[in-house]
Every structure is written in C-alpha cells, then in structure tokens.
C-alpha cells in the first residue's frame, strides 16, 4: 500500500482499507502539504472498503472549496463500493443542542418536582384502592394476600432475626464497658429496650424490607411495564394498581409490625446475652427493667412508624416500577433507584418521628 503525489495528481496503490488507512493518511497528508491535488487516481487500488471511501470523501470535502476534485481510474468493483458507501450525499447531521449549566439545574428541579407530584398522585390512588379493597376484593388477584404476606414478610424473617440479634448484641457490648465504669450495669436494660423499640427495630426492619421487598416490587412492576403486561391489564378493564399493588399494600401493612415486634424481641435476646453474661444482671431484673421503661407511647409510635415505613416502601417501589423507561436495562435502573429512594425516605421519616419525643 502506498501513495504518490505527482503533478498535483494523488494516486493510491494497493488496498485502501481500514487496516492500512491510519498509516496511509499520515503519508498522504505529508505528501500533499500545502498543495492542492486536482485529481485522485485510483487505478492502482485493488480493494477498498467503507473506511477508504470515507477517507476519499474527506479529501474531497477538504479541497472542495478550491475547485472540484476528480476521481479517476477506478475499476468497476472499486466504483461500486464507492457508490454504495459514499457519505457525500448524506443529509447533514443535525447538531445536538448543548444544555447549559443553569438550564440543566433548572430542568432537574422541574423534573424532581414533577416526580414528587406523580408519586403523590400514585400514592393517593394506592390509598384509595387499598381502602376500597378492604371491603371489595373484586379486581384483585385471587388469594394473593396470603401469598404476598408470605413473600414480603415471612421470607424476610430469618435475615431480620439474624441482623437484629447482631445489632442488639453490638449495642450492649459497646455500652457495657462504659456502663461498667460508672457501676451503672443495670441501666443496660433501659438502654437496650429504648433503643430497640424506638429506633433500631423499626428502622433496621424497614431497611431490610426496602432492600428485599421494595426492590422486588419495583422490578416486578417494571418488568410487567416493559413487556406490556400492564397495558394488557388495562385493556381487560383492570386497574393495575388494584390488581398488583393493593394486595402488596395490604400484606405489608399487616406483616411489617409483626416483623418489627419480632426484631425487637430478637434484639433484646442478643443484648441480653451481654447483660446477663458480661454485666452479671439476673434474668428477672433484666426483664423487669426492660418492661418498666417502655411506655405505651413508645409501642404505639414504634408500630405506627413501621406501618408508615411499609407504605412508603410499597409506594416508592411501585412508583419506580410504573415509571420505568426503556427496555430490559430500564428494569435494573428502576430497581436500584427504588431501593436508594426508599432507604433515604425511611431514614428521613424516622428523623421526623423522633421529633415526637422532643
């Protein structure tokens, strides 16, 4: 493969293909220098591909302003390839509009506002149908309450138990050393009970359920959306919210407080091991102090909180599921986004609930 530049005729020889082109382009442009070729001679070209054609186009465009450039000597085969792959007759590319900095901030604020609005709309629809669904099971998947309760709740039981146990254990282990220095061993029970009931039980459970069930809800709905199943439901005159979301909403509202209660108990057992084993409390004192310190208000707030977390997880999961864009890869994005958003929401709501104790 080589090229020559004689009498302002640029001639190529050999194969004008993608493999040779990078070298050839350097060679040709150094030969041409500041001169202008009047003609390109392709007589020696044995093979050409679309990269070669693109290069010829580029030379022609480069020198077009200084007069028309002629191709000559191409074999019929070469000419056929050139005719097929020439980009000279293509419509000009439409420039992509660049978005400015402030514009992009503005549009993301608007987007955030719009998605809040849409989520609120969805939430109100879910509440409406869930309320209706308490009395009227029409339009809901048959037998799905039990199935959903099992799916969302009882299958999460082992992981909730394990993590709560570890949390309770760590909490009292870290506090035990400090309390012992002050001879305040007995307060471990108070500390553990209050922390588990008010904070750790509801929040840990909600985070686990957000990761496990929130993501499942989002990916299920997103998949149904992508595969047009949602549209199919609508065409059967069924409300997708009623059919898919309401059973989950009911199931999780029942299951979540149970999981939280369970988490609190297991957490207490984990902490109890330290209290009894390391700090030398008797089982009786531990239980008595724990029960005394917990007020009715604590229990009500804790259970109420857990139900609210559950609702938020379902609403956010469904929201991202219904909002899915694109094909299969949109499902993954929707799932991830729903987990991040629901964990964020759970923690923010938890902070708001703690204001109740001011």
């Amino acid at each position: 493969m080589s090229c020559k530049f004689v009498n302002s005729v640029l001639s190529f020889e050999g194969e004008l293909t993608a493999r040779n082109l990078p070298k050839l382009m350097v060679e040709a442009s150094s030969l041409i220098g500041k001169n202008k070729p009047s003609m390109i001679d392709l007589a020696g070209v044995q093979a050409i591909d679309s990269a070669g054609v693109a290069y010829l186009d580029q030379i022609q465009i480069q020198f077009a302003s200084k007069g028309i450039l002629l191709l000559k000597g191409s074999t019929p085969e070469t000419q056929a390839v050139i005719d097929t792959f020439t980009s000279l007759k293509l419509p000009l590319p439409i420039p992509v509009a660049k978005i400015g900095f402030f514009e992009s901030i503005g549009s993301s604020v608007i987007e955030a506002y719009e998605s809040m609005y849409k989520a609120a709309l969805l939430a109100s629809e879910i509440y409406y149908w869930s309320f209706v669904g308490l009395f009227n099971h029409k339009g809901q998947r048959k037998g799905s309450l039990i199935q959903q309760a099992a799916l969302l709740g009882s299958q999460a039981l082992p992981i909730v138990a394990l993590l709560s146990f570890i949390i309770g254990f760590i909490l009292s282990l870290q506090s035990a050393v400090q309390l012992r220095n002050f001879g305040a061993n007995v307060f471990i029970a108070d500390l553990l009970a209050v922390t588990m009931v008010r904070e750790m039980g509801p929040m840990m459970t909600a985070i686990i359920i957000a990761g496990r069930s929130g993501s499942a809800i989002a990916s299920e709905i997103a998949t149904m959306q992508v595969t047009e199943e949602i549209d199919a439901l609508k065409m059967m005159a069924l409300s997708p919210i009623r059919y898919i979301v309401v059973p989950k909403f009911h199931a999780i509202s029942v299951v979540m407080p149970i999981l939280v209660a369970f988490s609190i108990m297991v957490g207490m057992i984990g902490g109890g091991i330290i209290a009894l084993g390391y700090l030398g409390l008797s089982l009786e004192t531990f239980l008595k102090r724990s029960i005394e310190i917990i007020t009715l208000k604590d229990l009500v707030v804790s259970m109420g909180k857990s139900v609210v977390f559950a609702w938020v997880i379902v609403i956010i999961g469904s929201y991202f599921g219904f909002q899915v864009k694109g094909g299969a890869e949109g499902v993954g994005k929707a799932t991830t986004a729903s987990v991040v958003a629901s964990i964020f929401a759970v923690i923010v709501l938890d902070a708001m609930f703690s204001l109740l104790y001011l």
């Binding site: 293909t17 993608a18 493999r19 082109l21 990078p22 382009m25 591909d49 679309s50 990269a51 054609v53 693109a54 290069y55 186009d57 580029q58 085969e77 056929a80 390839v81 005719d83 097929t84 792959f85 020439t86 980009s87 293509l90 419509p91 590319p93 992509v96 864009k325 694109g326 094909g327 299969a328 890869e329 949109g330």
Partner: protein
Amino acid sequence: MMKDIQPVISVNNLVAKYGEKTILDGITVDILPGEVTVILGGSGCGKTTLLKNILRLYEPFSGSVKFWGEEILQMDENEFSTVLKKVGMLFQNGALLNSISIYDNVSIPLELHTKLPPDIIDKIIRVKVNLVGLTHALHLFPSELSGGMKKRAALARAMAMDPKILFCDEPSAGLDPLTSAALDDLIKELKKQLNMTIVIVTHELASIHRIADKLIFLDAGKMLFYGTLEAAMKANIPQIDTFFRVGRF
C-alpha cells in the same frame, strides 16, 4: 458448471447437540462466494442452531467448518477473531446493546477493532445507518425503536466492519411486506455492489423468490436439499412441495 470455485464456507458432517438431544445430525454443505444462500425449515428444526454452530457461538459436537479453506474449530481465540472480523451477524431479535444509542451500537466494532480517526469512523457510521434507512433515528436508543427498525439497526451494526460474509437470522420475520421488500432490495444491492456472501434464514416465500441463489432445506436434523430454487421445485421432495404449495412452514 464451474467446479473450481473455492467455497467461502464448507461445512462437513456437522453434528450439533444440546445436552443429549441431537439437533443437527450430519450437515454437509458448501456456501459459494457472492451468493445468497437461504436456509429453510420448520420452526425449531435447528436453523439458528446451524448458524450458531458454524460461527462457534456453540461448539459443534463433531464435524468440521472451514472459512476460506481454513478449519476454524481448532483455531485459538486470536486466529478465530481475525476470521470473525470478516463476518457479520444479524441476530434473530437484533441483539442491540440496549443501554447505548444506535450510533454507539454501530461504532463499537469500529472503535474497538480499528485505529481509524474519529471523523472517518463518524462518516462510516452515518453511511451504514443511512444504508438501512435509519438516519432519523441515529441517536435514539433501541427501546425507542419498533421491531423492524431494531432489525435494520442491527443490520447496520453487522455491516459496520464491511464483512465479507453476512449471516441473517430471520431478518424479515415480523416485518410488514414493504419493509421486508426494502430489506431484500438492500441485501441484493449489497450482494451486487460489494460481492458479499450472504447466508440468510427466512420463511418468506416472496423473499426467497427475490433474493435466493441457493436453498438449504433442513428437516429432522438432516439437510434434505441444497440447490437452486428451480431445482428445488422440481426435486419432488414432499416437504419442499408442501412448503411451496402452502407458502410457509
């Protein structure tokens, strides 16, 4: 007859299995250069399996496959990838990468396999996408395209590296007759202008009449027939006669 034409692909006694199940039971056929070879057969008879075994997407159970006279089944990855760069494949459902635009889908092989400067690559992409008539959809994502547009975009990607051989798995399935005819015209054009060898799976009788130089009939793991359309109609093979009478499998 010109007996001395070197076949582009020669498949010899190819056996393909999924587990214990034999799908292809000894296929022997030569694909000739510059021809459109159509693979025909009932749904599930192993057409896709044949293509994938020829291209080593599945390793054949036994037999031999030669591209330009070189056995590919024993090649290591490097040697085989130089063969693959000369081969394009249009998958049955497009198989576009969903997370990137059509433009980027077509650019992948060019950017990863060549050292061409960006403006040349840009020209090549635009030309290829224009060939399949998708210039208006250049920056859209696969999920924003209809089924037929996806197939055409996938064809543009298969064409990105100027393959010498193009495999198409049911390119016109699910397309309307007009789009399908346009695709056939494009395939004929590619064959004529670029002297490309094309292997294509299709059920469309109209399409076969328009583009086929040779037919391969598969049935129950065997090749029933290889030859021209006229020969197929005269061959007196019941399954083939049924196909031409009914118009499809």
